[in-house]
């Protein structure tokens, strides 16, 4: 018979004032399943713990129940004390008679009776507890980063610089993300390219970073510490190993398609690198637009290439990488102009979005940094900026605040003033949100020194009249509607999750919220982790944020990864699901309920099995299993039924 000892804590007067501790002990001693029962004034004190250890040894106890405060406080304390006395820690349980009994009741009689029931229900459970060992899972100390914007770049560099290998997977031909498109960045106005390019180069050359651009994740299997990722390396149609990046082929290509990087403000060829500072600086052929792929004729690039690097017959490759942790840094897109009908729906030529304006401002952009409007190349003298275009509009567009546009619009107006001294910028806003270091001061500068006109109110509509773009809005502070005949209108369109993030999230089995951004495990306390173990988040894929916050979060995610990698193996709680092979009928109900895909079907044995590394011990499958084949360690159905009976006490 199992020898159980119960220790009832007085907690000074905290328990003893309401619960008659002596009577409780007396009651417990009557229970034949309890070998030893006693009380003590402060169980968690050193002598209290000593008492537990000594009693375990002297009374040869097999299990211990401490009736005290909430297990969230001292479960660990007493499990450690038990372990020190040679007991399996999972043979120690806590009965909560303080928070859930003595502190919440006044009737001493009833509180005492309740305490007895609480303790007995825990004793009933403990009686059937098994000795368990924590589950140990080896860790593959190699990380993958998905997305090569500033978030992915920073995370990759931090992890690689800590000594671990990183596989960086980027969908586009080059890393850099949106930051590469920006001109100067608020609030310090340093040149985006200038601070980003060195980092991109570092990634490209880093001995521990395996860079896979023009690649996408196809499939992920495994669990924290042991993922296997299948990656599709799209065929660039160029042999990057031999290509020197000379660019001759691009000069010759007859095709002209709008450049994505330059937001359609100029053209690129069918064979192209997205921008001159690209890493890797090797071209890809856009097969949808290449004359050869469409008609079978052309191959001008091939004949130009002196090293013979063009590979029209190159095929996509699927490669497999084994990693222990994955950082998801897939970034953002902006709401397409076409979506906002009242602002011209993308049809009015001189209505552009913020990223296009960045390209106009950028010294490496299509206008070499001169602000010229798309319709006729004229330098605009009246420029209207519209904030919250598609943001903060739960009825029609995105409900949330995009968080970066207030600041970048202010920056835009300011940079415009720097370029066009006699021009006038106007900003329509709902609020000006400047919650960052130096941001409020930046806004004041725009208003005070640059003479930007701020108009509080939404713009109703934007339309073209002659060569002007008319903006009808309101100035709620003046209480008047206003009209501005603008030369150029820049919309601060909402920041939305990157395309394909939903698909990717499904493959990774991580979660997205209602607006499509990746969900963190806890918005305050675990902001860089996904709910699913082994996945970490960085950058705008989680929610809109600026570069300082993106970089901080990326470093946070990287340090979580390196913290994980600091151990050879992980310990996991063993209170997980287990299947009785003889009972399981193979109905697979458990597989459908498991939120972590910890249940798999063993085709051979025709039963369901539990992947111990993935199981989080929620118990959902146990309750779902129609034939009781699945049980949860130390919380089996039998234990639960015994607990119920004990909790109801004798009639």
């Amino acid at each position: 018979m199992k020898r159980i000892g119960v220790f009832v804590c007085h907690c000074g007067i905290n328990i003893a004032n309401t619960v008659d501790v002596d009577r409780v002990v007396e009651e417990l001693r009557k229970d034949p399943r309890i070998t030893h029962a006693q009380s003590y004034i402060y169980m968690c004190s050193d002598p209290g713990q000593e008492l537990v250890r000594d009693t375990i040894k002297n009374e040869k106890l097999d299990a211990v129940v401490v009736a005290a405060c909430s297990p969230s406080l001292h479960e660990l304390t007493f499990r450690q004390a038990s372990a020190e006395a040679g007991l399996n820690p999972y043979q120690c349980e806590i009965a909560n008679i303080r928070e859930q009994c003595s502190w919440v009741h006044e009737d001493r009689e009833r509180a005492t009776a309740k305490a007895v029931k609480i303790i007995k229900s825990i004793v009933a459970k403990t009686y059937l507890n098994e000795s368990l060992e924590p589950i140990r899972v080896p860790i593959n100390r190699r990380a993958m980063v998905i997305g090569g914007g500033i978030a992915g770049i920073q995370a990759s560099l931090d992890i690689a610089n800590s000594g671990y290998e990183v596989v960086l997977v980027e969908r586009e031909p080059s890393i850099g993300g949106h930051m590469a498109q920006l001109s100067e960045t608020f609030p310090t106005l340093d040149c985006s390219q200038c601070i980003l390019t060195p980092k991109m180069v570092e990634v490209g050359k880093h001995p521990r970073i395996k860079l896979m651009t023009y690649s996408e994740v196809e499939e992920v299997s495994g669990y924290v510490g042991n993922f296997t990722v299948k990656i599709r390396r799209k065929a660039p149609s160029v042999d990057w190993a031999t290509c020197t990046g000379c660019g001759e082929c691009m000069e010759k290509c007859p095709v002209k398609v709008p450049s994505e990087f330059n937001r359609g403000l100029d053209d690129r060829g069918a064979i192209y690198v997205p921008f001159p500072q690209a890493v890797p600086n090797k071209p890809v052929i856009d097969r949808d637009n290449c004359v050869y792929y469409r008609t079978g004729k052309c191959k001008l690039c091939e004949s130009t290439c002196e090293v013979g690097s063009i590979r029209f017959d190159q095929e996509d490759e699927i490669v497999e990488e084994e990693v222990g942790a994955i950082v998801v840094a897939t970034g953002y897109e902006t709401l397409p102009l076409q979506r906002i009908a009242e602002y011209g729906g993308g049809e009015v030529p001189d209505v552009i979005d913020g990223l296009a304006f960045e390209r106009l401002l950028s010294a490496s952009g299509p206008t070499v940094g001169e602000v010229r409007r798309p319709s006729d190349g004229k330098v605009p003298k009246e420029v209207v900026f519209v904030q919250c275009a598609g943001s903060r509009d739960p009825e029609r567009y995105q409900p949330y605040c995009s968080r970066i546009c207030c600041m970048y619009t202010t920056k835009h107006a300011m940079l415009y003033k720097h370029r066009v001294h006699d021009g006038q910028p106007y900003i329509f806003y709902i609020d000006v949100r400047t919650g960052g270091k130096g941001y409020e001061e930046f806004y004041h500068r725009a208003e005070e020194e640059e003479g930007v006109v701020y108009l509080k109110g939404k713009v109703a509509s934007i339309f073209r009249d002659g060569d002007q773009t008319v903006v009808w809005g309101t100035d709620s502070l003046a209480g008047r509607n206003v009209e501005i005949r603008a030369d150029l209108v820049v919309l601060a369109t909402a920041v939305v999750p990157g395309t394909g993030v939903q698909d990717l999230a499904k493959k990774l089995k991580i979660q997205t919220g209602e607006n499509g951004f990746l969900n963190e495990a806890h918005p305050k306390l675990r902001p860089v982790e996904s709910i699913t173990a082994g996945f970490y988040l960085a950058g705008c894929g989680q929610s809109p944020r600026d570069i300082p916050d993106t970089v901080a979060q990326a470093s946070g995610a990287a340090s979580k990864v390196t913290a994980l990698f600091s151990k050879d193996e992980m310990e996991q709680d063993p209170m997980i699901a287990a299947v009785d092979e003889d009972v399981c009928g193979g109905c697979r109900v458990c597989i459908s309920v498991c939120p972590y895909d910890a249940r798999e079907y063993d085709e051979e044995e025709e039963i369901a099995v539990v992947n111990e590394a993935l199981c989080e011990g929620c118990g959902a499958c146990v309750a779902a299993c129609p034939c009781g084949a699945t049980q949860q360690s130390n919380l089996t159905d039998r234990q639960i039924l015994e607990m119920i009976t004990a909790s109801l006490g004798e009639e």
Partner: protein
């Protein structure tokens, strides 16, 4: 006076933590319920509830995290569905389905926990003990 017996299945992350908060806040409520702490409300099997009634419980409370807050993503949705089904069965068995309560009580809702306990106890007091006849049926 009749004092009902209540078995409370509470999840570790939300409702049990909420009950702890009621304690640290020194709120006072009726001592009719005993909490059985599970990892997740989705561990609760209808079988457990039937057993509780059979063993003399006059009421059963299942407490979980608010929808969307489940520590295990969507365990509480499963619980919700299961409880809805079970209610129908209970009614068929002649046990008023109102003797089974499902409540979402977060770790911050100590006050709600206390209120639910008081309110449920009072309701069951009015209802009186679960009659033996129906108890037989559940066997």
């Amino acid at each position: 006076m009749f004092e009902p017996k209540i078995v409370c299945f509470v999840c570790k992350w939300c409702t049990s933590a909420g009950a702890d908060l009621a304690g640290t806040s020194r709120l006072k409520y009726s001592p009719n319920g005993i909490n059985l702490r599970f990892m997740c409300s989705s561990r609760v099997d209808p079988e457990h509830i039937m057993w509780a009634f059979r063993q003399g419980a006059d009421g059963v409370l299942v407490g979980g995290c608010h929808p969307g807050d489940c520590h295990y993503q969507d365990g509480n949705y499963r619980t919700q569905t299961r409880m809805a089904l079970l209610r129908r069965v209970l009614d068929q068995l002649g046990i008023e389905s109102s003797r089974l309560r499902l409540e979402w009580i977060s770790a911050a809702e100590g006050k709600k926990f206390a209120e639910v306990m008081d309110n449920f106890s009072e309701e069951l007091r009015k209802k009186g003990p679960l009659s033996l006849a129906s108890k037989e049926m559940t066997v």
